[in-house]
Amino acid sequence: MSVSVHDLSIARGGIPLLEGVHFDVPAGQALILRGPNGIGKTTLLRTISGLQPVRSGRIELAPDSVTYAGHSDGVKNTLTVAENLQFWADIYGHKGITSALESVKLKTLADRPAGMLSAGQKRRLGLSRLLVTGRSLWLLDEPTVSLDASSIAMFSNVLEDHLQRGGSAVIASHVEIALDALKELDLMPFRASLDTSTFLEDGEV
C-alpha cells in the first residue's frame, strides 16, 4: 500500500475541516480529491505530506516516499530553468536533469531565466521537480493550474509513466485528468460539523 488514511480528522487554524476521512491508494494508482473550495483538499494534502499536524486518525505510508507540490512552484526567477531544476536534483541526490526537462518540454529553455517564463511554463518547471525527487508518492495540489490543453495532456502522460513505474499520486484538482488508473474521492461526506464542543476543544471560543 502506497498510502493509507484511516479515520483522519484535519483542521486549519484550529477550525476543523474534515472528519473520518479514509482511503487507500495502492502503488500504480492515483486518487483525485474532489470538493468545493475551502473544504480542505489542500489541508489534507499538507497533512499527508507532514506539513500540518494530524488532529486525529492515522496515515500510513513508507518513510521518505512522499513529495509535495503546492499551489506555488518554488521557482526562483533569477535562476535559469536548468539551475532551478538542478537544485532540486541535488537536494534529492538525483543525477541528471535532461530527461526531466524533456518530459515537460522545457529542454530548449534550459538556459533561460525562470523569470522570463510564462505562468504555464513555470508550472511545468515546478512539475518537473517531481521527476528528480525519486519519490513514489506524489501529493499534487491543483497541478494543472495555468496549463493549456496540450500541457495538461503532457502532465497526464508524465503522471501515467509515474504510475506505470509503480508510483502513486493523490491529487487535488477541479480539472478532468484522462487516466485509466484513477479513482475519485468526494470530500463532501467528510465535511466536519462545526459544533460548539469542537471549537471549545480547540480553544477557539
Binding site: 500540518q52 532540486w88 537536494i91
Partner: protein, 218 residues
C-alpha cells in the same frame, strides 16, 4: 546542504538578490557620520569603532527578512520542509549563507571604511576580528527572528523589534573589544565573550528556528 548553500549564495549575487544592499548601507553610514560629527578628526577616531559596529549591525538587519520570506512567498519553503533535509540544518545553512553574503563582506571592507572614519591603524585588527567573531551571531540570531516572523505581513518591523534587543550583548562586547584594541589594552575577555555568544547561538538557535518555522508552516 551544499546545494542549498550554493543556491542561496547564487541568489544573493543575482540581480535584486540583496548582496550589495548591506554594503551600500554600511557605506552610507560611514560617509554620513563624518558630516554629522564635523571636522573633528580626533572625535571621529574615538567613535569610529562603535559607529562601524552599529553600521554593520544595522546593515545585517536590513537583509534579514530575505532569509525565509522569499522562500515562503514562492513556495520553496514548503518544498524544502518536505525534502530530505532536517529543518535544523536548513535554518543553519540559511544563516551561514546570510553571513557569507552579508557579514563576511562587511568584515572584509571594514579596514577600508575604518580609514574613512580616521580610525588609527592599531585599531584595524581588533575591529576586524571583533566583527569576524560577532557577525556570525548576528546572522544566526537574525535567522531565528526571520523564522519567527515568516508569513507575517510587513514582518520587517516586527523582526527588527524582536532581533535588536538580542543583538545588544554582541554589540556591547564586540565594540568593547574594538575599543580596548584601539587603546592598546588586552581584549581577550571581550573577544572570548563575543566568540562565546556566536558559538552559543550557532549551537542552539538553529533548533529554535526550526521549531518556530515548523509551527509557522502549519
Amino acid at each position: 546542504m551544499i546545494a542549498l548553500l550554493m543556491r542561496d549564495i547564487r541568489l544573493a549575487f543575482r540581480a535584486g538578490g540583496g548582496f550589495g544592499l548591506a554594503l551600500a548601507f554600511f557605506l552610507i553610514v560611514v560617509v554620513l557620520v563624518p558630516f554629522a560629527v564635523g571636522a573633528q578628526s580626533a572625535l571621529l577616531a574615538k567613535v569610529a569603532s562603535g559607529v562601524l559596529w552599529i553600521g554593520a549591525l544595522l546593515a545585517c538587519l536590513l537583509s534579514l527578512d530575505r532569509i525565509f520570506a522569499l522562500d515562503y512567498e514562492d513556495g520553496s519553503l514548503d518544498l524544502l520542509a518536505t525534502a530530505p533535509l532536517p529543518l535544523e540544518g536548513l535554518t543553519a545553512i540559511k544563516a551561514l549563507a546570510h553571513w557569507l553574503t552579508t557579514g563576511l563582506p562587511l568584515v572584509l571592507v571594514t579596514p577600508v571604511f575604518a580609514v574613512m572614519l580616521n580610525l588609527p591603524a592599531e585599531g584595524f585588527l581588533p575591529l576586524a576580528v571583533s566583527l569576524l567573531l560577532g557577525t556570525p551571531a548576528l546572522s544566526t540570531i537574525g535567522a531565528f527572528g526571520a523564522a519567527l516572523t515568516v508569513g507575517v505581513r510587513r514582518g520587517g518591523l516586527l523582526l527588527g523589534l524582536l532581533v535588536l534587543p538580542l543583538y545588544v550583548p554582541t554589540l556591547i562586547f564586540g565594540a568593547e573589544m574594538a575599543r580596548r584594541g584601539l587603546e592598546g589594552q588586552d581584549y581577550t575577555t571581550p573577544a572570548l565573550l563575543v566568540a562565546g555568544i556566536s558559538c552559543g547561538t550557532i549551537a542552539l538557535l538553529p533548533f529554535a528556528a526550526a521549531a518556530v518555522l515548523r509551527a509557522n508552516l502549519r
